[in-house]
Protein backbone atom coordinates (compact mmCIF):
# COMPACT_ATOMS: atom_id res chain seq x y z
CA UNK A 1 0.00 0.00 0.00
CA UNK A 2 2.75 2.34 0.90
CA UNK A 3 4.39 1.47 -2.39
CA UNK A 4 1.27 2.54 -4.23
CA UNK A 5 1.13 5.84 -2.40
CA UNK A 6 4.77 6.39 -3.23
CA UNK A 7 4.15 5.69 -6.87
CA UNK A 8 1.46 8.33 -7.07
CA UNK A 9 3.41 10.92 -5.16
CA UNK A 10 5.30 13.33 -7.37
CA UNK A 11 5.65 16.04 -4.78
CA UNK A 12 9.42 16.08 -4.78
CA UNK A 13 9.45 17.76 -8.15
CA UNK A 14 9.13 21.53 -8.38
CA UNK A 15 5.75 22.99 -9.30
CA UNK A 16 6.84 24.18 -12.74
CA UNK A 17 7.97 20.71 -13.67
CA UNK A 18 4.65 19.25 -12.71
CA UNK A 19 2.76 21.79 -14.79
CA UNK A 20 4.84 20.86 -17.81
CA UNK A 21 4.19 17.20 -17.13
CA UNK A 22 0.47 17.79 -16.85
CA UNK A 23 0.38 19.68 -20.12
CA UNK A 24 2.41 16.99 -21.85
CA UNK A 25 0.14 14.28 -20.48
CA UNK A 26 -2.89 16.15 -21.73
CA UNK A 27 -1.32 16.51 -25.14
CA UNK A 28 -0.60 12.81 -25.29
CA UNK A 29 -4.16 12.00 -24.36
CA UNK A 30 -5.81 14.13 -26.99
CA UNK A 31 -3.26 13.89 -29.78
CA UNK A 32 -5.11 11.25 -31.84
CA UNK A 33 -8.32 13.21 -31.80
CA UNK A 34 -6.82 15.97 -33.88
CA UNK A 35 -6.05 15.58 -37.55
CA UNK A 36 -2.71 13.93 -37.97
CA UNK A 37 -0.79 12.03 -40.59
CA UNK A 38 -0.31 8.32 -40.20
CA UNK A 39 3.38 9.02 -40.18
CA UNK A 40 3.01 11.26 -37.16
CA UNK A 41 0.93 8.63 -35.41
CA UNK A 42 3.51 5.96 -36.11
CA UNK A 43 6.21 8.24 -34.75
CA UNK A 44 4.21 8.89 -31.58
CA UNK A 45 3.68 5.20 -31.02
CA UNK A 46 7.37 4.61 -31.51
CA UNK A 47 8.09 7.40 -29.06
CA UNK A 48 5.90 5.80 -26.42
CA UNK A 49 7.41 2.38 -27.01
CA UNK A 50 10.94 3.62 -26.71
CA UNK A 51 10.11 5.68 -23.66
CA UNK A 52 9.04 2.52 -21.93
CA UNK A 53 12.11 0.67 -23.16
CA UNK A 54 14.21 3.51 -21.86
CA UNK A 55 12.45 3.67 -18.51
CA UNK A 56 13.06 -0.01 -18.02
CA UNK A 57 16.69 0.28 -18.97
CA UNK A 58 17.02 3.22 -16.68
CA UNK A 59 16.32 1.18 -13.56
CA UNK A 60 19.47 -0.85 -13.89
CA UNK A 61 21.43 1.38 -16.23
CA UNK A 62 20.62 4.78 -14.82
CA UNK A 63 19.82 4.38 -11.15
CA UNK A 64 22.04 1.36 -10.88
CA UNK A 65 24.83 2.64 -13.06
CA UNK A 66 25.35 -0.70 -14.82
CA UNK A 67 25.41 0.06 -18.51
CA UNK A 68 23.53 -2.76 -20.19
CA UNK A 69 23.92 -3.00 -23.94
CA UNK A 70 22.13 -6.28 -24.45
CA UNK A 71 18.48 -5.52 -23.84
CA UNK A 72 17.45 -6.48 -27.38
CA UNK A 73 17.42 -10.15 -26.49
CA UNK A 74 14.51 -9.52 -24.15
CA UNK A 75 12.64 -7.56 -26.78
CA UNK A 76 12.98 -10.69 -28.84
CA UNK A 77 11.80 -13.00 -26.11
CA UNK A 78 8.72 -10.88 -25.50
CA UNK A 79 7.97 -10.44 -29.18
CA UNK A 80 8.51 -14.02 -30.15
CA UNK A 81 6.57 -15.50 -27.27
CA UNK A 82 3.55 -13.45 -28.19
CA UNK A 83 3.93 -14.02 -31.91
CA UNK A 84 4.48 -17.76 -31.63
CA UNK A 85 1.59 -18.19 -29.22
CA UNK A 86 -0.70 -16.23 -31.45
CA UNK A 87 0.26 -17.84 -34.72
CA UNK A 88 0.37 -21.42 -33.52
CA UNK A 89 -2.20 -21.59 -30.76
CA UNK A 90 -4.26 -18.44 -31.12
CA UNK A 91 -3.47 -17.28 -27.62
CA UNK A 92 -4.50 -13.69 -26.88
CA UNK A 93 -2.00 -10.96 -26.05
CA UNK A 94 -3.09 -10.57 -22.45
CA UNK A 95 -2.02 -14.12 -21.73
CA UNK A 96 0.99 -14.39 -24.00
CA UNK A 97 2.46 -11.11 -22.82
CA UNK A 98 2.75 -12.08 -19.14
CA UNK A 99 4.09 -15.45 -20.18
CA UNK A 100 6.65 -13.75 -22.36
CA UNK A 101 7.57 -11.56 -19.43
CA UNK A 102 7.94 -14.56 -17.19
CA UNK A 103 10.21 -16.30 -19.67
CA UNK A 104 12.27 -13.16 -20.15
CA UNK A 105 12.58 -12.56 -16.43
CA UNK A 106 13.63 -16.15 -15.77
CA UNK A 107 16.25 -15.88 -18.44
CA UNK A 108 17.43 -12.61 -16.96
CA UNK A 109 17.98 -14.32 -13.61
CA UNK A 110 19.97 -17.05 -15.30
CA UNK A 111 22.16 -14.53 -17.08
CA UNK A 112 22.22 -12.00 -14.28
CA UNK A 113 23.89 -14.26 -11.80
CA UNK A 114 27.16 -14.59 -13.75
CA UNK A 115 26.87 -11.23 -15.49
CA UNK A 116 26.87 -9.16 -12.37
CA UNK A 117 30.13 -10.61 -11.21
CA UNK A 118 31.52 -8.19 -13.77
CA UNK A 119 31.59 -4.44 -13.60
CA UNK A 120 31.87 -1.45 -15.84
CA UNK A 121 33.19 -1.99 -19.36
CA UNK A 122 33.54 -5.73 -18.90
CA UNK A 123 29.93 -5.98 -17.90
CA UNK A 124 28.81 -3.89 -20.86
CA UNK A 125 30.70 -6.04 -23.34
CA UNK A 126 29.39 -9.22 -21.75
CA UNK A 127 25.84 -7.98 -22.21
CA UNK A 128 26.56 -7.40 -25.87
CA UNK A 129 27.98 -10.88 -26.14
CA UNK A 130 24.95 -12.58 -24.61
CA UNK A 131 22.52 -10.67 -26.77
CA UNK A 132 24.42 -11.52 -29.94
CA UNK A 133 24.53 -15.20 -29.01
CA UNK A 134 20.79 -15.32 -28.48
CA UNK A 135 20.16 -13.52 -31.73
CA UNK A 136 22.33 -15.99 -33.60
CA UNK A 137 20.42 -18.82 -32.01
CA UNK A 138 17.08 -17.38 -33.06
CA UNK A 139 18.34 -16.99 -36.58
CA UNK A 140 18.73 -20.72 -36.99
CA UNK A 141 15.85 -21.93 -34.86
CA UNK A 142 13.07 -23.12 -37.16
CA UNK A 143 10.43 -23.12 -34.47
CA UNK A 144 10.49 -19.35 -34.47
CA UNK A 145 10.92 -19.03 -38.19
CA UNK A 146 14.69 -18.71 -38.18
CA UNK A 147 16.02 -15.73 -40.11
CA UNK A 148 12.78 -15.24 -42.01
CA UNK A 149 10.94 -14.53 -38.81
CA UNK A 150 7.27 -14.75 -38.12
CA UNK A 151 4.34 -12.97 -39.59
CA UNK A 152 1.00 -12.32 -38.00
CA UNK A 153 -1.53 -11.87 -40.73
CA UNK A 154 -4.54 -9.85 -39.75
CA UNK A 155 -6.77 -10.95 -42.59
CA UNK A 156 -9.18 -12.69 -40.26
CA UNK A 157 -9.35 -9.95 -37.70
CA UNK A 158 -11.25 -7.06 -39.14
CA UNK A 159 -13.17 -5.65 -36.20
CA UNK A 160 -10.85 -4.31 -33.52
CA UNK A 161 -9.55 -7.29 -31.61
CA UNK A 162 -8.74 -6.30 -28.07
CA UNK A 163 -7.91 -9.79 -26.98
CA UNK A 164 -5.23 -10.43 -29.51
CA UNK A 165 -4.33 -6.82 -29.97
CA UNK A 166 -4.84 -6.87 -33.72
CA UNK A 167 -6.25 -3.63 -35.04
CA UNK A 168 -6.51 -2.11 -38.43
CA UNK A 169 -6.22 1.41 -37.15
CA UNK A 170 -3.26 2.70 -35.25
CA UNK A 171 -5.34 4.71 -32.81
CA UNK A 172 -6.14 1.62 -30.77
CA UNK A 173 -2.49 0.72 -30.54
CA UNK A 174 -1.75 4.26 -29.49
CA UNK A 175 -4.05 4.24 -26.51
CA UNK A 176 -2.94 0.84 -25.34
CA UNK A 177 0.71 1.77 -25.38
CA UNK A 178 -0.15 5.09 -23.79
CA UNK A 179 -1.74 3.19 -20.95
CA UNK A 180 1.41 1.16 -20.47
CA UNK A 181 3.41 4.36 -20.68
CA UNK A 182 1.57 5.97 -17.78
CA UNK A 183 1.80 2.77 -15.78
CA UNK A 184 5.50 2.66 -16.47
CA UNK A 185 5.99 6.16 -15.15
CA UNK A 186 4.11 5.35 -11.99
CA UNK A 187 6.15 2.23 -11.51
CA UNK A 188 9.50 3.96 -11.90
CA UNK A 189 8.35 6.72 -9.60
CA UNK A 190 7.55 4.15 -6.96
CA UNK A 191 10.74 2.29 -7.67
CA UNK A 192 13.07 5.19 -7.09
CA UNK A 193 11.53 5.77 -3.68
CA UNK A 194 11.51 2.14 -2.68
CA UNK A 195 14.03 0.28 -0.62
CA UNK A 196 15.51 -1.32 -3.73
CA UNK A 197 15.73 2.03 -5.46
CA UNK A 198 17.70 3.56 -2.62
CA UNK A 199 19.93 0.56 -2.33
CA UNK A 200 20.67 0.69 -6.01
CA UNK A 201 21.63 4.32 -5.86
CA UNK A 202 23.92 3.59 -2.95
CA UNK A 203 25.49 0.83 -5.02
CA UNK A 204 26.05 3.18 -7.91
CA UNK A 205 27.69 5.63 -5.55
CA UNK A 206 30.15 3.21 -3.97
CA UNK A 207 29.73 -0.54 -3.91
CA UNK A 208 31.99 -1.22 -0.95
CA UNK A 209 30.16 1.24 1.23
CA UNK A 210 26.85 -0.22 0.11
CA UNK A 211 28.02 -3.68 1.10
CA UNK A 212 29.13 -2.41 4.48
CA UNK A 213 25.54 -1.27 5.02
CA UNK A 214 24.26 -4.77 4.66
CA UNK A 215 23.20 -4.54 1.03
CA UNK A 216 23.61 -7.70 -0.96
CA UNK A 217 24.95 -5.86 -3.97
CA UNK A 218 24.92 -8.80 -6.34
CA UNK A 219 21.33 -9.70 -5.61
CA UNK A 220 20.08 -6.11 -5.76
CA UNK A 221 21.55 -5.73 -9.23
CA UNK A 222 20.02 -8.97 -10.41
CA UNK A 223 16.59 -8.02 -9.14
CA UNK A 224 16.73 -4.67 -10.86
CA UNK A 225 17.96 -6.26 -14.07
CA UNK A 226 14.89 -8.46 -13.96
CA UNK A 227 12.66 -5.41 -13.60
CA UNK A 228 14.30 -3.77 -16.60
CA UNK A 229 13.80 -6.99 -18.51
CA UNK A 230 10.10 -7.07 -17.68
CA UNK A 231 9.61 -3.58 -19.11
CA UNK A 232 11.48 -4.42 -22.26
CA UNK A 233 9.73 -7.71 -22.85
CA UNK A 234 6.31 -6.11 -22.41
CA UNK A 235 6.97 -3.65 -25.17
CA UNK A 236 8.47 -6.46 -27.21
CA UNK A 237 5.18 -8.32 -27.03
CA UNK A 238 3.34 -5.20 -28.04
CA UNK A 239 5.78 -4.72 -30.89
CA UNK A 240 4.89 -8.13 -32.28
CA UNK A 241 1.21 -7.28 -32.41
CA UNK A 242 1.80 -3.83 -33.80
CA UNK A 243 4.36 -4.50 -36.50
CA UNK A 244 2.95 -7.96 -37.11
CA UNK A 245 6.16 -9.09 -38.73
CA UNK A 246 9.19 -9.88 -36.67
CA UNK A 247 12.60 -11.26 -37.43
CA UNK A 248 15.79 -11.49 -35.40
CA UNK A 249 17.53 -8.80 -37.37
CA UNK A 250 15.11 -6.05 -36.41
CA UNK A 251 13.99 -7.11 -32.99
CA UNK A 252 17.17 -8.52 -31.51
CA UNK A 253 20.05 -6.78 -33.16
CA UNK A 254 22.67 -4.74 -31.37
CA UNK A 255 21.15 -1.70 -33.03
CA UNK A 256 18.06 -2.01 -30.85
CA UNK A 257 20.10 -2.47 -27.69
CA UNK A 258 22.07 0.62 -28.57
CA UNK A 259 18.94 2.67 -29.19
CA UNK A 260 17.39 1.65 -25.92
CA UNK A 261 20.46 2.53 -23.90
CA UNK A 262 20.89 5.68 -25.90
CA UNK A 263 17.41 7.06 -25.22
CA UNK A 264 18.00 6.88 -21.55
CA UNK A 265 21.57 8.12 -21.60
CA UNK A 266 20.86 11.04 -23.87
CA UNK A 267 17.83 12.16 -21.96
CA UNK A 268 19.45 11.61 -18.62
CA UNK A 269 20.12 8.23 -17.07
CA UNK A 270 19.24 8.07 -13.43
CA UNK A 271 16.32 10.45 -13.59
CA UNK A 272 12.63 9.77 -13.94
CA UNK A 273 11.99 11.97 -16.94
CA UNK A 274 15.32 11.44 -18.63
CA UNK A 275 14.46 8.43 -20.83
CA UNK A 276 11.23 10.09 -21.92
CA UNK A 277 13.03 13.26 -22.90
CA UNK A 278 15.62 11.19 -24.71
CA UNK A 279 12.97 9.35 -26.66
CA UNK A 280 11.13 12.58 -27.37
CA UNK A 281 14.27 13.98 -28.96
CA UNK A 282 15.65 10.97 -30.72
CA UNK A 283 12.59 9.27 -32.14
CA UNK A 284 11.22 12.20 -34.11
CA UNK A 285 14.76 13.05 -35.16
CA UNK A 286 15.32 9.53 -36.38
CA UNK A 287 11.98 9.25 -38.19
CA UNK A 288 12.10 12.58 -39.92
CA UNK A 289 15.74 12.25 -40.84
CA UNK A 290 15.06 8.94 -42.41
CA UNK A 291 12.10 10.35 -44.30
CA UNK A 292 13.82 13.38 -45.71
CA UNK A 293 17.37 12.23 -46.17
CA UNK A 294 17.46 8.49 -46.12
CA UNK A 295 15.27 8.28 -49.15
CA UNK A 296 18.12 9.65 -51.21
CA UNK A 297 20.08 6.51 -51.82
CA UNK A 298 23.33 8.35 -51.48
CA UNK A 299 22.63 9.41 -47.93
CA UNK A 300 21.83 6.17 -46.17
CA UNK A 301 23.37 6.16 -42.79
CA UNK A 302 23.40 9.87 -42.27
CA UNK A 303 20.81 9.65 -39.54
CA UNK A 304 23.09 7.41 -37.56
CA UNK A 305 26.06 9.60 -38.27
CA UNK A 306 24.15 12.37 -36.56
CA UNK A 307 23.30 10.04 -33.71
CA UNK A 308 26.91 9.17 -33.26
CA UNK A 309 27.83 12.83 -33.22
CA UNK A 310 25.14 13.62 -30.70
CA UNK A 311 26.30 10.82 -28.44
CA UNK A 312 29.88 11.98 -28.65
CA UNK A 313 28.91 15.53 -27.83
CA UNK A 314 26.76 14.51 -24.92
CA UNK A 315 29.41 12.25 -23.47
CA UNK A 316 32.10 14.88 -23.71
CA UNK A 317 30.04 17.78 -22.47
CA UNK A 318 27.37 16.48 -20.10
CA UNK A 319 27.27 12.77 -19.45
CA UNK A 320 24.18 13.18 -17.40
CA UNK A 321 22.24 13.92 -20.52
CA UNK A 322 19.68 16.57 -21.29
CA UNK A 323 18.14 16.33 -17.86
CA UNK A 324 21.57 16.78 -16.35
CA UNK A 325 22.07 19.88 -18.47
CA UNK A 326 18.77 21.29 -17.34
CA UNK A 327 19.60 20.65 -13.75
CA UNK A 328 22.98 22.27 -14.14
CA UNK A 329 21.35 25.35 -15.57
CA UNK A 330 18.82 25.47 -12.80
CA UNK A 331 21.45 24.84 -10.17
CA UNK A 332 19.63 22.07 -8.43
CA UNK A 333 19.53 18.30 -8.46
CA UNK A 334 16.58 16.01 -8.34
CA UNK A 335 16.12 12.50 -9.57
Amino acid sequence: MEALRNALDFSDFPRTDLYVVAVAALFLLVFPLFPHSSFAMATMIQFLMFSIYGMGWNTIGGYGGQVDLGKAQYVGIGAYTTAVMLVRWDIPFWISMPIGMAVAVCWSFVLGYPLFRLRGHYFAIATIATSLVLKDLFEVWDFVGAARGLEISPIHYDPPDFLRLIFKEDIYYYYIILGFFFLGILFVNGFRKSRLGYQLRAIKDNEDVAASLGINVHWAKIKTYAIATAFVSLVGSFHACYIKNIEPEDTMSLHISILIALMAMLGGAGSLWGPIIGAAVLIPLKSYLKEWLGAHAGLIGIDLVMYGTIIMLVSAVEPRGIWGLMERIRGRRRG
Partner: protein
Protein backbone atom coordinates in the same frame (compact mmCIF):
# COMPACT_ATOMS: atom_id res chain seq x y z
CA UNK B 1 31.96 -12.77 26.70
CA UNK B 2 33.89 -10.65 24.27
CA UNK B 3 31.84 -9.08 21.51
CA UNK B 4 34.73 -9.28 19.08
CA UNK B 5 37.55 -11.76 19.18
CA UNK B 6 40.34 -11.64 16.67
CA UNK B 7 42.52 -14.74 16.81
CA UNK B 8 45.92 -14.88 15.16
CA UNK B 9 44.77 -13.01 12.09
CA UNK B 10 47.09 -13.13 9.11
CA UNK B 11 46.59 -11.22 5.89
CA UNK B 12 49.04 -11.58 3.03
CA UNK B 13 49.06 -9.69 -0.23
CA UNK B 14 51.12 -11.59 -2.79
CA UNK B 15 54.19 -11.80 -0.63
CA UNK B 16 53.58 -8.81 1.61
CA UNK B 17 52.36 -9.67 5.07
CA UNK B 18 50.06 -6.84 6.09
CA UNK B 19 48.66 -8.42 9.24
CA UNK B 20 50.91 -10.80 11.15
CA UNK B 21 49.17 -13.02 13.70
CA UNK B 22 47.17 -10.29 15.32
CA UNK B 23 45.05 -11.24 18.32
CA UNK B 24 42.92 -9.11 20.58
CA UNK B 25 39.46 -8.85 22.08
CA UNK B 26 36.86 -6.18 22.50
CA UNK B 27 34.27 -6.52 25.26
CA UNK B 28 30.72 -5.31 24.84
CA UNK B 29 30.43 -1.67 25.75
CA UNK B 30 34.09 -0.82 25.35
CA UNK B 31 35.59 2.02 23.38
CA UNK B 32 38.89 0.81 22.01
CA UNK B 33 41.38 2.66 19.86
CA UNK B 34 43.90 1.27 17.39
CA UNK B 35 46.96 3.32 16.58
CA UNK B 36 50.19 2.79 14.75
CA UNK B 37 52.43 4.40 12.18
CA UNK B 38 51.36 4.56 8.58
CA UNK B 39 51.43 1.23 6.85
CA UNK B 40 51.04 -0.70 10.08
CA UNK B 41 48.09 -2.58 8.68
CA UNK B 42 45.27 -0.91 10.56
CA UNK B 43 42.83 -0.40 7.70
CA UNK B 44 43.69 -3.84 6.37
CA UNK B 45 42.72 -5.22 9.75
CA UNK B 46 39.39 -3.45 9.55
CA UNK B 47 38.82 -4.71 6.04
CA UNK B 48 39.42 -8.25 7.19
CA UNK B 49 37.11 -7.93 10.15
CA UNK B 50 34.31 -6.33 8.14
CA UNK B 51 34.52 -8.95 5.43
CA UNK B 52 35.83 -6.74 2.66
CA UNK B 53 39.06 -8.71 2.39
CA UNK B 54 39.39 -12.47 2.57
CA UNK B 55 41.60 -13.58 5.42
CA UNK B 56 44.77 -15.60 4.84
CA UNK B 57 44.54 -17.40 8.16
CA UNK B 58 43.18 -16.89 11.66
CA UNK B 59 39.68 -16.41 13.00
CA UNK B 60 37.29 -13.58 13.69
CA UNK B 61 34.51 -14.23 16.15
CA UNK B 62 31.75 -11.68 16.49
CA UNK B 63 28.88 -11.97 18.93
CA UNK B 64 29.74 -15.59 19.52
CA UNK B 65 29.71 -16.54 15.84
CA UNK B 66 32.63 -17.22 13.56
CA UNK B 67 32.47 -14.59 10.84
CA UNK B 68 35.79 -15.36 9.17
CA UNK B 69 35.25 -15.49 5.45
CA UNK B 70 31.76 -14.05 5.50
CA UNK B 71 30.96 -11.43 2.89
CA UNK B 72 30.79 -7.79 3.84
CA UNK B 73 27.03 -7.50 3.66
CA UNK B 74 26.55 -10.60 5.77
CA UNK B 75 28.83 -9.20 8.46
CA UNK B 76 26.94 -5.91 8.36
CA UNK B 77 23.66 -7.72 8.79
CA UNK B 78 24.95 -9.31 11.94
CA UNK B 79 25.43 -5.92 13.51
CA UNK B 80 28.95 -4.87 12.61
CA UNK B 81 29.08 -1.49 10.90
CA UNK B 82 32.02 0.59 9.71
CA UNK B 83 32.98 3.84 8.14
CA UNK B 84 35.58 4.26 5.43
CA UNK B 85 38.67 6.37 5.30
CA UNK B 86 38.42 7.48 1.73
CA UNK B 87 34.93 7.91 0.47
CA UNK B 88 34.61 9.55 -2.88
CA UNK B 89 30.93 10.31 -3.01
CA UNK B 90 30.11 11.04 -6.59
CA UNK B 91 26.49 10.24 -6.49
CA UNK B 92 23.27 12.07 -6.20
CA UNK B 93 22.20 11.06 -2.73
CA UNK B 94 21.33 13.70 -0.21
CA UNK B 95 22.37 13.45 3.42
CA UNK B 96 19.00 12.15 4.48
CA UNK B 97 18.84 9.65 1.64
CA UNK B 98 22.29 8.42 2.54
CA UNK B 99 21.30 7.74 6.11
CA UNK B 100 18.10 6.12 4.91
CA UNK B 101 20.13 3.57 3.00
CA UNK B 102 21.63 2.51 6.30
CA UNK B 103 18.21 2.35 7.92
CA UNK B 104 16.88 0.17 5.15
CA UNK B 105 18.84 -2.67 6.61
CA UNK B 106 16.41 -2.86 9.46
CA UNK B 107 13.16 -1.90 7.80
CA UNK B 108 11.50 -2.40 4.45
CA UNK B 109 9.27 0.62 4.63
CA UNK B 110 10.58 3.86 3.12
CA UNK B 111 8.47 5.84 5.55
CA UNK B 112 10.00 4.23 8.66
CA UNK B 113 13.43 4.55 7.14
CA UNK B 114 12.89 8.25 6.61
CA UNK B 115 11.62 8.79 10.14
CA UNK B 116 14.53 6.91 11.62
CA UNK B 117 16.99 8.76 9.37
CA UNK B 118 15.61 12.14 10.43
CA UNK B 119 16.09 11.12 14.03
CA UNK B 120 19.71 10.20 13.44
CA UNK B 121 20.31 13.39 11.47
CA UNK B 122 18.96 15.40 14.37
CA UNK B 123 21.22 13.65 16.85
CA UNK B 124 24.25 14.33 14.73
CA UNK B 125 23.36 17.98 14.10
CA UNK B 126 22.84 17.30 10.40
CA UNK B 127 19.27 18.57 10.14
CA UNK B 128 20.11 21.75 8.34
CA UNK B 129 21.91 19.94 5.58
CA UNK B 130 19.65 16.94 5.31
CA UNK B 131 18.57 17.86 1.81
CA UNK B 132 22.00 18.77 0.53
CA UNK B 133 24.06 16.46 -1.60
CA UNK B 134 26.76 14.74 0.37
CA UNK B 135 29.34 15.37 -2.31
CA UNK B 136 28.89 19.10 -1.89
CA UNK B 137 29.50 19.20 1.83
CA UNK B 138 32.75 19.99 3.63
CA UNK B 139 34.77 17.07 4.94
CA UNK B 140 33.69 17.39 8.56
CA UNK B 141 30.05 17.07 7.66
CA UNK B 142 30.72 14.23 5.25
CA UNK B 143 32.31 12.30 8.06
CA UNK B 144 29.27 12.85 10.19
CA UNK B 145 27.05 11.61 7.40
CA UNK B 146 28.99 8.38 7.12
CA UNK B 147 28.68 8.06 10.88
CA UNK B 148 24.95 8.53 10.58
CA UNK B 149 24.66 6.03 7.78
CA UNK B 150 26.49 3.41 9.81
CA UNK B 151 24.27 4.17 12.77
CA UNK B 152 21.21 3.59 10.63
CA UNK B 153 22.07 -0.09 10.52
CA UNK B 154 21.66 -0.30 14.31
CA UNK B 155 25.02 -1.95 14.86
CA UNK B 156 26.30 -3.64 17.97
CA UNK B 157 29.87 -2.84 17.03
CA UNK B 158 30.97 0.22 15.14
CA UNK B 159 34.32 0.34 13.38
CA UNK B 160 35.48 3.90 12.76
CA UNK B 161 38.32 4.37 10.30
CA UNK B 162 40.13 7.67 10.86
CA UNK B 163 37.02 9.76 11.29
CA UNK B 164 39.09 12.68 12.48
CA UNK B 165 41.36 12.84 9.45
CA UNK B 166 41.22 16.21 7.79
CA UNK B 167 39.39 17.96 10.60
CA UNK B 168 40.46 21.15 12.29
CA UNK B 169 40.75 21.28 16.10
CA UNK B 170 37.22 22.54 16.67
CA UNK B 171 35.83 19.83 14.44
CA UNK B 172 37.91 17.24 16.23
CA UNK B 173 36.39 18.28 19.53
CA UNK B 174 32.95 18.01 18.02
CA UNK B 175 33.73 14.55 16.70
CA UNK B 176 35.02 13.45 20.07
CA UNK B 177 31.80 14.50 21.74
CA UNK B 178 29.73 12.78 19.09
CA UNK B 179 31.59 9.52 19.35
CA UNK B 180 31.28 9.51 23.10
CA UNK B 181 27.63 10.27 22.85
CA UNK B 182 27.06 7.47 20.39
CA UNK B 183 29.01 5.14 22.61
CA UNK B 184 27.02 6.05 25.70
CA UNK B 185 23.51 6.78 24.53
CA UNK B 186 23.21 4.12 21.90
CA UNK B 187 25.07 1.48 23.85
CA UNK B 188 27.31 0.72 20.89
CA UNK B 189 30.74 -0.81 21.25
CA UNK B 190 33.27 1.24 19.33
CA UNK B 191 36.58 0.27 17.80
CA UNK B 192 38.38 3.11 16.13
CA UNK B 193 41.51 3.67 14.08
CA UNK B 194 43.05 7.06 14.58
CA UNK B 195 46.11 9.11 13.90
CA UNK B 196 44.86 12.15 15.75
CA UNK B 197 46.28 11.40 19.18
CA UNK B 198 44.19 13.98 20.95
CA UNK B 199 41.06 12.11 20.01
CA UNK B 200 42.10 8.55 20.53
CA UNK B 201 44.02 9.07 23.72
CA UNK B 202 41.26 11.09 25.29
CA UNK B 203 38.25 8.94 24.64
CA UNK B 204 39.58 5.38 24.41
CA UNK B 205 39.30 3.13 27.38
CA UNK B 206 41.97 0.92 25.92
CA UNK B 207 44.47 1.27 23.09
CA UNK B 208 46.02 -1.31 20.80
CA UNK B 209 49.18 -0.45 18.91
CA UNK B 210 50.16 -1.95 15.58
CA UNK B 211 53.46 -1.66 13.77
CA UNK B 212 54.51 -3.36 10.55
CA UNK B 213 51.59 -5.73 10.73
CA UNK B 214 52.09 -6.86 14.31
CA UNK B 215 50.49 -5.90 17.57
CA UNK B 216 53.24 -4.40 19.69
CA UNK B 217 51.37 -3.06 22.70
CA UNK B 218 47.99 -2.99 24.38
CA UNK B 219 46.75 -1.17 27.44
CA UNK B 220 45.21 2.00 28.76
CA UNK B 221 46.17 5.23 26.97
CA UNK B 222 48.56 6.45 29.66
CA UNK B 223 50.76 3.37 29.77
CA UNK B 224 50.75 3.15 25.98
CA UNK B 225 52.07 6.68 25.74
CA UNK B 226 55.06 5.67 27.82
CA UNK B 227 55.63 2.27 26.30
CA UNK B 228 59.12 2.21 24.79
CA UNK B 229 58.08 -0.12 22.00
CA UNK B 230 55.41 2.31 20.94
CA UNK B 231 57.75 5.25 21.06
CA UNK B 232 60.31 3.36 19.07
CA UNK B 233 57.74 2.43 16.46
CA UNK B 234 56.70 6.02 15.94
CA UNK B 235 59.99 7.79 16.25
CA UNK B 236 62.43 5.15 15.21
CA UNK B 237 65.37 3.52 16.89
CA UNK B 238 67.47 6.67 16.85
CA UNK B 239 65.23 8.34 19.37
CA UNK B 240 65.08 5.41 21.68
CA UNK B 241 68.31 6.61 23.21
CA UNK B 242 66.49 9.69 24.47
CA UNK B 243 64.40 7.50 26.71
CA UNK B 244 65.28 7.54 30.41
CA UNK B 245 67.94 5.01 31.28
CA UNK B 246 66.72 1.51 31.89
CA UNK B 247 63.62 1.84 29.80
CA UNK B 248 64.87 0.90 26.36
CA UNK B 249 64.92 -2.80 25.86
CA UNK B 250 66.16 -4.94 23.07
CA UNK B 251 69.02 -4.36 20.65
Amino acid sequence: MALLKVERLVKDFDGLRANDHISFQVETGELVGIIGPNGAGKTTLFNCISGHYPVTSGRIIFDGKDITGLKAFEVARMGLARTFQVYAASGDLTVLENIMVGCFLRTRSPRSARIRAKEIARLLYLEEVSDSLVSELPVALQKRVSLGTALGTEPKLLLLDEVAAGLNPAEIDEMMTLIQRIHHNFDITVLLIEHVMKLVMNISQRVIVLDSGRKIAEGDPRSIAHDPNVIRAYLGERYARFLPKGESSGP
